[in-house]
């Protein structure tokens, strides 16, 4: 039972992990052992699509799972627009607002193809074809000479009156011509609206995109969401039958509770539960059901912005944590004598 976080109508119980040697009289197998971990760790991939991954990590502690989640959000590098050089902007959207919007556009670039900017370097040597992607946006809005006279629809009246992310054009520099020949840099979602124009207005700018991490700015985060939840546990303590079973079923999302041929409710798939605790509000189920969550069963959901496959983002987060540990292991400790 110690593995289950209890969920009652007004509180959660047993929330902290206590699997440490010496915590209690029965703390066998709590000392760290890689073999024991290997035996108990399970990874179950539910699905991986182009943008989303859903998988279960079983048999590790919250502190580790949370480290992976935090790294995916804040420390896995990706490419985003950092400098916007505006030559002309006669639209109603201000330069800095437009620059900010361009910055947030996710770009389809493999971050491994770029190197980090050397902040110490002279301004003229800072940006090279190794570390910078150049995009340009040149758009002029004009009247549509063929517009129907009574039309009030801007799509019919004007040309180029909507500026989309797809209007950002990749300008390969130096060796990027060959490097990106098969996969030119494009926004992951081409139809992000950046600005609106009216006849005579124009935008002309250049964008420098560099490598960065989410801790520095959210635009560098490779995920739109990376989250985990604990596996819900529904314990039916006393049989629930007949009309009550139907009512019981209604307390949970579809597919969680099913009713067998004897008319008795049973848990079919607790993974689908949202743990709304609705069942605990009904007097008649008092003492018949116990809700909980498995403390060492993490259901991860990773949604990529599109630059990297979601499984690669998780993979990188594991490697970043490992590199952190290895790096610190080799760091000398100052003031130690």
């Amino acid at each position: 039972m110690s593995n289950i976080v209890g969920i009652e109508h007004d509180r959660v119980t047993n929330t902290t992990s206590t699997d440490f040697p010496g915590f209690s009289a029965d703390s066998a197998n709590t000392e760290w052992s890689l073999d024991y971990f290997k035996e108990n760790f399970k990874l179950d991939i539910k699905y991986i699509t182009e943008r989303t991954a859903n998988f279960d990590l079983i048999g590790l502690d919250t502190s580790i799972a949370n480290a992976f989640r935090r790294i995916m959000i804040a420390e896995v590098p990706s490419v985003a627009a950092e400098y916007v050089y505006i030559f002309n902007n006669t639209s109603v959207i201000q330069d800095e607002v437009l620059a900010h919007r361009i910055g947030l556009v996710p770009l389809k670039v493999d971050p491994d193809q770029l190197t980090w900017i050397n902040k110490e370097a002279d301004e003229k040597d800072k940006f090279t074809d190794d570390n910078t992607i150049v995009l340009s946006l040149d758009i002029v809005c004009s009247k549509n000479p063929n517009a129907s006279p009574n039309s009030t629809n801007p799509d019919n009246l004007y040309r180029n009156h909507k500026v989309y992310a797809k209007n950002l054009k990749f300008e390969p520099q130096g060796r990027q011509v060959e490097l990106f020949a098969n996969n030119p840099v494009v926004p992951c979602d081409p139809n992000i609206l950046l600005a609106k124009l009216r006849p005579g207005q124009e935008i002309s700018l250049r964008v420098h995109c560099i490598l960065g991490i989410g801790a520095d700015h959210a635009k560098f985060s490779p995920v739109s969401t990376a989250s985990y939840r604990l596996l819900p546990v529904i314990d039916i303590l006393k049989p629930i039958v007949g009309k009550d079973a139907l009512e019981f079923q209604q307390c949970f999302p579809n597919g969680v509770i099913d009713i067998n041929e004897k008319g008795e409710a049973y848990v079919k798939d607790s993974r689908k539960d949202t743990v709304s605790r609705e069942v605990l509000r009904h007097e008649k189920f008092n003492g018949k059901v116990k809700l909980g969550r498995r403390r060492d069963h993490f259901i991860f959901n990773v949604e990529s912005t599109g630059a990297m496959p979601p499984e690669e983002i998780f993979f990188k987060s594991v490697r970043i944590l490992k590199n952190k540990a290895d790096y610190l292991r080799n760091c000398p400790i100052a003031n130690l004598n």
Partner: protein, 137 residues
């Protein structure tokens, strides 16, 4: 600070020659002498000590605390971020006396690294096997 009884190895010798290239670009390779610091308040026997790590947060702090606490000889381990505006992480370790705090700290880091290696291995074999759905239900 008083002498510790057993002097731990500070860094592998092959890393020392890289000490000169201590600029930001080579941060991952260079030996960074300012990354970890021993804080005042360590006992003279070395069994209890606090360390300060620069540029780390709860991501590493909590994971490392957990790994160190799983060491049988560790009596106490805790971490704190002393101020949210400073990118510093303090971690305190007290042992029962079979190993020094520095050794327990290093063991924690090694265990964490081994854990990550295993997760990485399992995940990459699972992904390579491709025995999962590629459609969102």
């Amino acid at each position: 600070m008083a002498d510790t009884e057993s002097k731990p190895v500070i860094a592998p010798t092959n890393d020392i020659e890289m000490n000169e290239v201590n600029n930001e670009e080579n941060l991952e390779l260079a030996v960074d002498t300012s990354k970890i610091q021993l804080l005042p308040g360590a006992t003279s026997d070395g069994f209890a000590a606090s360390f300060q790590i620069i540029d780390e947060d709860h991501t590493l702090g909590n994971a490392l605390r957990y790994m160190i606490m799983k060491n049988e000889d560790v009596e106490f381990c805790g971490y704190s971020i002393p101020h949210p505006s400073e990118n510093k992480l303090n971690i305190r370790i007290q042992t029962y006396g079979k190993m020094t705090a520095v050794e327990a700290f290093h063991k924690g880091l090694e265990d964490l690294s081994n854990l990550c290696s295993h997760v990485e291995e399992v995940f990459s074999t699972k992904v390579a096997n491709k025995d999962y759905s590629t459609e969102e239900p």
